[in-house]
């Protein structure tokens, strides 16, 4: 999908962060660089130790029997598939819900911006364990009888409580994951929309006869794809590692398999940790082309502005 309107081009040599040569002659540089080295050492040592520990196996160095055992386990593949499905479903839902909404707010309804900001900030105050506790009570059918919630939801909660068990899909879990991913998915998409002139692009498209959806799909989307990609990969990597909600909703996902197998065999646990690290690595590397800011002073989705992502 190539856009007709691509007014901003990336300048070669423009990097993440501003060039900061002026900092070079300031005081306190040596301690700061030492702190940076210390921090990097702190982040690297557990990774290296885990790799060595995982590869050394229970029968000495180079014993890869636990790797074979991991890949031979049908539960490994089954839970991996479940988690991949959940992550894909959540990612699609997050993008579908957020992109038209944030675009419309930027274009026509800037007064709704504070509400969106508040909704995207609330998950910081409602951690997954609290959200899960609330959702369990909200959608357990007749057991929790709350006329207030039934009324506030326009009768949708009782309806959905009856629909969710009928479908053999962890739909409620996917909806919960959408909320967990909301803060950083919103931030990434919002930042990328701020970096382009939504109004000018839309007016240009409209003058050529494009409608709202056509403009979004063929003009706006190609211009903000780095933000969408960042949002998608952050959502994906969070869902792949999320344990709290899956355990509350009794869904046998990859992190739960990881936790169960790892508790008995620390060497296998170390190998699985390395595998998970590689998965995170792939997701973040996928974001790298998306993190280079465009020209024009706009804020692109820098990794530094993605706050509090990841399963805890």
């Amino acid at each position: 999908m190539r856009s007709l309107f691509r007014p901003r081009h990336r300048k070669p040599g423009q990097d993440v962060g501003q060039p900061s040569q002026h900092l070079a002659n300031e005081g306190g540089l040596l301690p700061a660089r030492l702190a940076l080295a210390l921090a990097l050492l702190y982040l690297l040592i557990p990774l290296a130790a885990t790799l060595v520990f995982g590869l050394s196996g229970s029968h000495g160095w180079g014993d890869l029997s636990s790797l074979g055992a991991v890949f031979g386990d049908p539960d490994f593949w089954q839970t991996l598939l479940t988690s991949l499905g959940l992550a894909a479903g959540t990612t699609v839902l997050v993008i579908l819900l957020l992109t038209p909404t944030v675009y419309q707010v930027h274009l026509r309804l800037p007064q709704v911006q504070p509400l969106l900001e508040a909704l995207a900030l609330l998950p910081f105050a409602v951690p997954p364990i609290v959200l899960g506790t609330g959702l369990l009570q909200e959608y357990n059918g007749a057991a929790t009888n709350s006329p207030l919630v039934d009324l506030l939801s326009l009768g949708l909660v009782p309806l959905l409580s009856n629909v969710f068990p009928l479908l053999d899909l962890p739909l409620l879990l996917i909806c919960a994951y959408v909320i967990v991913a909301l803060p950083f998915a919103y931030r990434a998409i919002d930042n990328s929309l701020r970096a382009v002139d939504v109004r000018v692009l839309t007016e240009a498209a409209a003058s050529l006869g494009a409608g709202w959806w056509r403009t979004l799909l063929l003009v706006i989307l190609p211009n903000i794809w780095p933000g969408i990609l960042t949002a998608a990969l952050l959502t994906f990597s969070t869902v792949m590692g999320e344990l709290t909600l899956a355990s509350l909703f009794n869904t046998y996902t990859f992190p739960i398999y990881l936790n169960m197998t790892g508790q008995n065999d620390p060497h296998r646990a170390a190998l699985l940790a390395v595998l998970s690290f590689l998965l995170t690595l792939l997701c973040v590397l996928g974001m790298v082309p998306a993190t280079r800011p465009r020209t024009g002073g706009g804020r692109a989705a820098l990794p530094g502005q993605i706050e509090g992502a990841g399963p805890r």
Binding site: L131, G134, S146, A270
Partner: protein, 317 residues
């Protein structure tokens, strides 16, 4: 926070309507405008409805549940009374706050200084590489992180064994355990540190050279520049970053759960035990604990946004 946003929005909508009246448009055009306005809003309906159903109503039902008597359904403060009556519940809050505070301060302090070190690097490829590495480390949490630390600092972990055989230093004989408070602090700092580097980096790259030159021209020493100019500018960003770290570790569950299998008394672990237990489920006390968590986190998030707004003044956003 939310109600404030809603008030603000309501205020703007009202003033918009007043402006429309003043112009005195013909009736037909006015209703056409109103129809267009409705259509503009209709795009937001799916998202707002979704947030109502899966974000706001769970909060409402938790607050309601904490104020309801489980048996009769009447209004009752029994949940909170039970929360306050048991020393282990208060102990869980104490542990959670202490853990979050200690890891936020360690991660915040070291992370901020390291972010300055990162901002001062001249080689942009190195800076980008390290930023990417920090993003990976900040995302590497939960069960795999717990396992990585067991492999590193567990009883038979690589570093534990190495220290014992090379330096004759037995960490576990000295009273250290990865499964207790200070062990958990080390694990949490692993994801706090890179997060602090990432969120404060823009503040350090935003320090303008003109400010420093002006301070020096006016006779400030480098220490004076830092104390009187740079730190006051950086202060809101640093506080906001630390608040984010606090909220981040206060709600963390998977890492502590995988590491200690529920043997450490933290609020999220306690809530999970109450509502996810195999024997009995106690939503009353669980809801009260959850409301306590939300109350504390709401204050932290409020301070976070206030500081972020103040910080944005200097970053020309």
């Amino acid at each position: 926070m939310l109600s404030q946003a809603l008030d603000e929005e309501g205020g703007r909508a009202q003033s918009g309507m007043a402006g429309e009246k003043r112009r005195e448009q013909p009736l037909a055009r006015r209703s056409a405008w109103r129809l267009a306005g409705l259509l503009a809003w209709s795009i937001l309906v799916p998202f707002l409805l979704f947030c109502l159903l899966f974000e706001l109503l769970p909060v409402v039902i938790t607050i309601q549940g904490s104020l309801t008597n489980g048996g009769t359904g009447g209004l009752s403060l029994a949940g909170y009374q039970r929360l306050l009556a048991q020393a282990s519940n208060l102990r869980a809050f104490q542990n959670s706050v202490a853990l979050s505070l200690v890891t936020a301060l360690i991660g915040g302090l070291l992370g901020a200084v390291a972010a300055y070190g990162l901002a001062s690097l001249r080689q942009s490829w190195l800076r980008n590489l390290l930023i990417s590495f920090c993003s990976i480390a900040a995302n590497f949490a939960g069960v795999p992180l717990a396992f990585a630390f067991v492999a590193t600092l567990g009883v038979t972990g690589f570093v534990t064994v190495a220290l014992r055989s090379w330096l004759h230093l037995d960490l576990y004989a000295l009273g250290f355990s990865i499964y207790q408070f200070w062990g958990l602090v080390l694990v949490y700092v692993y994801f706090q540190l890179p997060l602090m580097i990432l969120v404060t980096l823009p503040a350090f790259t935003g320090l303008r050279p003109e400010w420093r030159e002006a301070a020096i021209n006016l006779g400030a020493s480098p220490a004076g520049y830092w104390w009187r100019v740079a730190l006051p500018i950086l202060f809101p960003s640093l506080v906001a970053g630390t608040m984010l770290l606090f909220a981040n570790s206060f709600g963390a569950f998977a890492t502590a759960y995988a590491l200690a299998q529920g043997n450490i008394n933290l609020v999220p672990i306690l809530i999970d035990f109450l509502v996810n237990g195999n024997v009995t489920v106690d939503f009353g006390l669980g809801d009260a604990l959850a409301v306590g968590m939300m109350g504390l986190l709401l204050a932290v998030v409020a301070l976070y946004t206030t500081m972020l707004r103040r910080a944005s003044r200097w970053q020309g956003r």
